[in-house]
């Protein structure tokens, strides 16, 4: 039997029963979802109430924010002594030379302003002509850095590398490290993927040698043994020795990061490039590297974060980087005893940069992932 054709009518949407929306429902689901969850929440809230208010009082409410003598801080021990950081700020950020010559502080300040005006657009997705910015940052900026920070031209007084310190030195070590490590690392990565066994063996040995040793032994080696490796008369000061050590070390890690990116390129790309009749170097430069480097940016940023933290090791061989400068300041006669503030301040600066970079690299990774999936 055939009925008349029925038409399909959609039932209206209803709201779920006991409609659980809003703050209360959220709290019930995410903080008191089960007995165990409720207990966890209570314990954590209790711990917060125990420890957070005293810390906030010490660090913010009762803190000594201004003043330029320790007597102010000594009078109020209930709060942190941020005044000390204020007094020593120039020194901690820019080192002894600029700390002692306030009229020269404009030099590092300018260089950082230039650096960030170049860097921030590079990190933003929509910026046009990133290639030009990149070239400016990698080639022109180092020259500017040398002119402004080292000085000696255009009537700018010389600030010798031995006098570099504070965050400025940390930045210089990390930047130089990545700047020189990048090209070496790329060559090593290509070598490690080469089909020629001797080349491969050389690159693998180099990479694994540097990756196998802690940076501190490399810095020791650079600071005590480097002069032995060069003909008499060739000598570098401590900062340059550290830079050499860091560059060698970092190039191995960069190589591994780049290699990861290269191996993620589909085989079809190589085949297509070969089918076009491109030779090895043309293939590599125009087809393989642009793709491989793009994929490996997150990994390179991660190795850079590690390097940025690792630069603090130079304080063990006596350089006055951010960590050592903060420590020295908090152990100076005037401010002896305010270690916690010194470490926290230095730690906060390190944290800000590392956290920012790691967020950036995570975002990039996510974006690359979706790009590849589409």
């Amino acid at each position: 039997m055939i009925d008349d054709l029925k038409t399909f009518t959609t039932l209206p949407d209803r709201a779920p029963p006991g409609s659980e929306i809003g703050l209360i429902a959220w709290i019930r689901q995410n903080l008191f979802g089960s007995a165990g969850s409720s207990i966890t929440t209570l314990i954590l809230v209790f711990l917060f109430l125990m420890y957070l208010p005293p810390f906030v009082e010490w660090a913010l409410i009762n803190a000594n924010w201004v003043g330029n003598e320790r007597s102010i801080c000594d009078a109020n021990k209930a709060g942190a002594c941020w005044a000390f950081i204020g007094v020593r700020m120039d020194q901690i950020l820019f080192g002894l030379y600029f700390g002692a010559n306030p009229d020269q502080v404009w030099r590092p300040v300018t260089i950082f302003i230039i650096f960030f005006t170049l860097l921030i657009p590079l990190m933003i997705d929509k910026t046009p002509r990133k290639d030009i910015l990149g070239i400016l940052l990698l080639l022109v900026f180092p020259a500017l850095f040398y002119v402004l920070i080292y000085g000696g031209v255009f009537g700018i007084p010389v600030a010798d590398t031995t006098q570099w310190g504070g965050f400025l030195l940390t930045f210089a070590l990390a930047f130089i490290g990545i700047l020189f490590a990048l090209p070496i690392g790329i060559l090593l990565a290509l070598g490690r993927r080469s089909e020629m066994p001797v080349i491969r063996a050389i690159c693998v040995t180099y990479i694994e040698f540097w990756r196998g040793t802690p940076l501190i032994t490399i810095l020791f080696m650079a600071s005590v043994m480097l002069p032995l490796f060069f003909p008499a008369g060739v000598d570098f000061d401590k900062v340059v020795r550290a830079m050499i050590g860091i560059t060698l070390f970092q190039s191995a890690y960069t190589a591994e990061a780049v290699r990861g990116g290269l191996s993620a390129i589909p085989k079809g790309q190589y085949e297509a490039a070969m089918a076009l009749g491109l030779g090895y170097w043309k293939r590599t430069i125009f087809i393989i590297l642009p793709q491989g480097l793009k994929i490996s940016i997150p990994a390179i940023v991660n190795t850079f974060i590690a390097l940025f933290k690792d630069t603090s090791l130079v304080s063990i061989i006596g350089l006055l980087d951010l960590l050592n400068m903060a420590q020295t300041a908090s152990r100076s006669l005037e401010w002896n005893g305010y270690d916690i503030e010194g470490y926290l301040f230095a730690g906060f600066i390190f944290w800000m940069f590392c956290f920012g970079m790691s967020r950036y690299s995570q975002n990039l990774e996510r974006k690359l992932d979706t790009d590849r999936r589409n």
Binding site: N30, L31, G33, S34, S37, T40, T41, L44, V45, E195, M196, P197, V198, I199, I202, E208, F209, R211, G212, T213, P214, I216, T217, F220, M221, V224, M225, P227, L228, F229, F230, P231, A232, I305, K309, D310, S312, L313, S315, I316, L323, Q327, D339, I340, Y343, L344, A346, G347, F350, W351, C354, F355, S358
Partner: protein, 393 residues
């Protein structure tokens, strides 16, 4: 059959590859050779005699902490210092690896907890500790927190026969001697262990034959503790303890965990755990939802699903990067030099180098120690990955 066409040498890929490799090799060899020449020349010019003769010289400094190898000021030689350094590196690494693994797994699991607050606390932990230089953390804990807040030896915090002060933790150590009671106890313990092992095997066979399960681990654990204690009493409590006692300035007797060791261990643990936690989170998340669903659909309980389906798969993702973290922790223990714990870099590449000036040999030996550790680690990782691949592909 056709004759092989003759290719001009410079266009023959094989010939070209050989040529390139020969050039590269000779460049490397030449570089190494000239480096060696310059170095030797420099050494001669500075009148430094490089050699291993200083190994047998007596080391003119003291080493306070050496739990297994004996160090006597005025008798022990440099080469002994070297081995003590290795010993202490291994010791602090093992302590750190154990603690960091436990903490890292806890934080990683809490990170995935359905409780929002707990998950965010774990996230804060991870983001704070992995984004601040380890060296800074070591110094912070040691110089800014532990050292100022712990009392002088005279006012030590006392917990039983344990004493905590700004120099470290003093504790009783068992005196292992050859008394008959002790030997008897050691023997019964060995027998007990063997017995429990057999029991575990039997329980497994029984489980496979009948499907009935026994809580083997709990039974064995309690049996071991309980019987061990009973035997200890029966053998007449054969262990004597060396108990620390307060002398005029410091404690005498017993064992000591120096504060630098503690600070170093603490910082290494907290730092590495943040990385391990991320590995654990990623590992657990890598097990697809479909796996747990399939297991549930078969009627498996939540506990069995986690134990038999999720953990085995997650571990395959977690283990390789975590082993690398273990290696990193070991390498990072070299930062001990900042707080003065006597591991290899501090006593060998630091003090011994300053004393003897034998930079070349000493640095080479230090590097060799770490290279050995990395080679061992990567050999293990290769083996592990190959085993995994065998069972998956």
């Amino acid at each position: 059959m056709t004759d092989r066409v003759r290719i001009p040498l410079h266009r023959d890929p094989k010939a070209r590859a050989i040529a390139i490799q020969l050039i590269a090799l000779s460049l490397v060899v030449y570089g190494a050779y000239s480096l060696f020449q310059t170095t030797v020349g420099n050494l001669v010019a500075r009148g430094i005699q490089t050699g291993t003769s200083f190994f047998d010289e007596v080391a003119p400094f003291n080493i306070g902490f050496s739990p297994l190898l004996d160090f006597k000021l005025g008798e022990s030689t440099y080469i002994e210092v070297f081995f003590i350094g290795i010993q202490n590196t291994i010791l602090v690494s093992i302590l750190g690896i154990v603690a960091a693994t436990v903490l890292g797994f806890i934080v990683g699991v809490v990170r995935l907890s359905p409780n929002w607050l707990a998950s965010k606390v774990a996230l804060c932990y991870i983001e704070i500790f992995r984004n601040v230089p380890l060296l800074l953390q070591i110094m912070f804990w040691n110089f800014a927190i532990f050292l100022p807040s712990l009392p002088a030896p005279k006012n030590s915090i006392e917990i039983g026969s344990f004493y905590l002060n700004a120099r470290g933790l003093h504790m009783p150590t068992p005196i292992i001697d050859n008394s008959s009671g002790f030997i008897l106890w050691a023997l019964t313990l060995a027998l007990l262990t063997f017995g429990l092992f057999i029991f575990a095997r039997r329980a497994k066979v029984r489980f496979e034959e009948t499907g009935r399960r026994l809580p083997v681990f709990s039974i064995n654990f309690f049996a071991f503790v309980f019987c061990g204690f009973i035997f200890y009493k029966i053998c007449g409590s054969p262990l004597a303890f060396d108990i620390p006692e307060l002398g005029r300035f410091n404690f005498k007797g017993g064992g000591q965990l120096p504060l630098p060791l503690f600070s170093l261990w603490f910082a290494l643990t907290v730092y590495t755990a943040a990385f391990i936690a991320e590995n654990v989170r990623a590992g657990i998340q890598s097990v697809s939802h479909g796996q747990t669903e399939a297991s549930h659909a078969l009627g498996m309980s939540r506990r069995d699903t986690v134990r038999l389906v999720v953990i085995p798969q997650a571990l395959r993702v977690i283990i390789p990067p975590t082993i690398s973290q273990f290696l990193n922790l070991t390498k990072n223990s070299s930062l001990a030099v900042a707080v003065g714990f006597e591991e290899i870099v501090a006593v060998w590449a630091g003090i011994s180098l300053n004393q003897t000036g034998q930079a070349l040999i000493i640095i080479a030996m230090t590097i060799a120690v770490y290279e050995c550790l990395s080679l061992l680690t990567s050999a293990f990782l290769n083996w592990y990955n190959r085993r995994i691949q065998l069972s998956e592909l």
